[in-house]
């Protein structure tokens, strides 16, 4: 009898321990992800994580606040506005593709059920251009970053709210693929995104403070001092992958779009504050 009770108790404990692993879905992932950072940085208010390493590096923050007095992305915003307002050769404008625009930052990325894929804002912009007889823009920098800067500025204050539709298992599969990409070690240095931006967030790598992943997707595109120009989120993805000596995926390819889908979902609730200025 005692042996039976002990066996049942052990089996019950095993089930209880295993159950989070069996049932953890995106919502549970997101809660655990955000809780990790609020516990790691207890003094950082939730609405400050959108400022990246400047939420945890006081000296960097002082410099950044001084830079923000005359933001280096202002020219990009002006250029982007001109692009938005200038009709295509066929007379249509971006507004015809994005009737709610330009404040559409919170609508991307999203799952497109009809096409069975993640759609990001830069992808949608180029699809709009091509549909109106215009050449697509390069995805890493240049005019697309200007247009994204304008849209980002107009979208400031919106709240990240990526939805994974429950009635389409492909959306969950894209989320899981993005999650796998995020946590997979890669490259000759065998680092994952999480190696720096979760487990070592707040640590110093060479001269820089590693930013927490919470808040990573809110402030794009970015004027990065290292680049001396604007750049997109996928430009940074590419740079990060190459820094760990991995061959980077294609900008706006399926892998990076799924990665953006996962990361942005993890940042649900964070306020959009692009475009940004970073080192």
């Amino acid at each position: 009898m005692k042996k039976t009770i002990a066996t049942l108790a052990i089996a019950g404990m095993a089930c209880a321990l295993a159950s989070p692993l069996v049932f953890a879905g995106p919502q549970e992932d997101q809660e655990a992800f955000q809780a990790f950072f609020t516990e790691r940085f207890p003094k950082v208010p939730m609405d400050d994580f959108k400022n990246g390493s400047y939420a945890i590096d006081p000296v960097g923050r002082e410099n950044w606040e001084a830079i923000e007095e005359f933001p280096p992305y202002e020219t990009a915003v002006d250029n982007g506005k001109e692009m938005w307002d200038t009709p295509f050769a066929n007379g249509k404008t971006y507004k015809d593709c994005f009737p709610d625009g330009p404040a559409i930052g919170d609508k991307f990325p999203h799952w497109d059920k009809d096409r069975g894929m993640v759609v990001t804002l830069p992808l949608a912009i180029n699809e709009c251009r091509e549909a109106n007889g215009e050449k697509p823009l390069a995805y890493l920098k240049g005019p697309i970053a200007d247009l994204l800067a304008y849209i980002g500025m107009e979208s400031r204050g919106q709240i990240t709210n990526v939805v994974i539709p429950e009635d389409d298992p492909r959306a969950l599969a894209a989320y899981e693929k993005g999650k796998q990409i995020y946590f997979a070690r890669r490259g000759q240095f065998n680092f994952s995104c999480a190696s720096c931006h979760m487990g070592n967030s707040g640590s110093t790598l060479r001269t820089e403070v590693l930013s927490p992943a919470l808040g990573h997707t809110t402030h794009w595109p970015v004027y990065r001092s290292k680049w001396g120009e604007m750049g997109t989120l996928h430009r940074r993805y590419k740079g990060c992958m190459e820094q760990v000596r991995s061959k980077a995926y294609e900008p706006q390819g399926e892998e990076f779009r799924d990665l953006e889908f996962f990361m942005t979902y993890m940042n649900n609730g964070q306020e959009l504050n692009g475009p940004g200025a970073r080192k």
């Binding site: 989070p20 997979a184 070690r185 890669r186 000759q188 992958m241 000596r245 061959k247």
Partner: protein, 186 residues
């Protein structure tokens, strides 16, 4: 910390002398231009003998394109590689065999490069290709074309290792998820 007068003077003299010695190790524009000129001469000679000089022409153009941005050392490396390739191509086309500097077997180099490319593709098929593998294979090909078969083989073998490691790494990480230090509510 007070620096003694003589120490300060010694430091000043030494540093000034070192400054003037930078020309001993820094590549000058004239060095790069000379290397390119020599490469072009070798290129013309090889082309005149009917050798395949397409690859070296690309290298010479790449070297020339680096001059405006003052990447003289890299330009010299590219020009020298182009010259080696054309010298080797010329010696082959004139029936002279590999130059004296060539060592190793071209068959070994060819096999090593093919194996490296196969390993690279294997890694790429699972998203595990490393950043430098493709470049290493290209460099091995350049070395083989210059008759430096030993070096080509060694470099290709390193590239093959990278391809194999990249594949193993990607397969190991295919189910990657949240690390154990992230806690979920129970």
């Amino acid at each position: 910390m007070k620096i003694h007068r003589y120490t300060a003077g010694f430091l000043a003299v030494t540093l000034t002398a070192m400054l003037s010695m930078t020309s001993a190790w820094a590549a000058h524009r004239s060095d790069a231009e000379q290397a390119i000129a020599e490469a072009k001469a070798a290129h013309d000679k090889a082309a005149g003998a009917g050798a395949d000089v397409t690859e070296s022409a690309t290298l010479i153009k790449q070297a020339e394109d680096l001059i405006p941005s003052r990447q003289y050392t890299k330009a010299i490396d590219l020009a020298n590689m182009a010259k080696k390739q054309d010298d080797f191509a010329l010696s082959k086309s004139s029936g002279g065999g590999a130059p004296a500097a060539a060592s190793g077997s071209s068959a070994d180099a060819e096999k090593a490069i093919a194996d490296a490319e196969a390993a690279r593709k294997m890694a790429a098929s699972v998203g595990g290709e490393w950043r430098d593998t493709g470049k290493m294979i290209e460099q091995a090909e350049d070395l083989a074309k210059a008759g430096e078969f030993d070096k080509a083989t060694k470099l290709a073998n390193l590239a093959k290792d990278q391809g194999e490691l990249g594949y193993a790494q990607a397969m190991h990480e295919k189910d990657a998820g949240f690390p154990s230090y992230v806690h979920f509510k129970q």
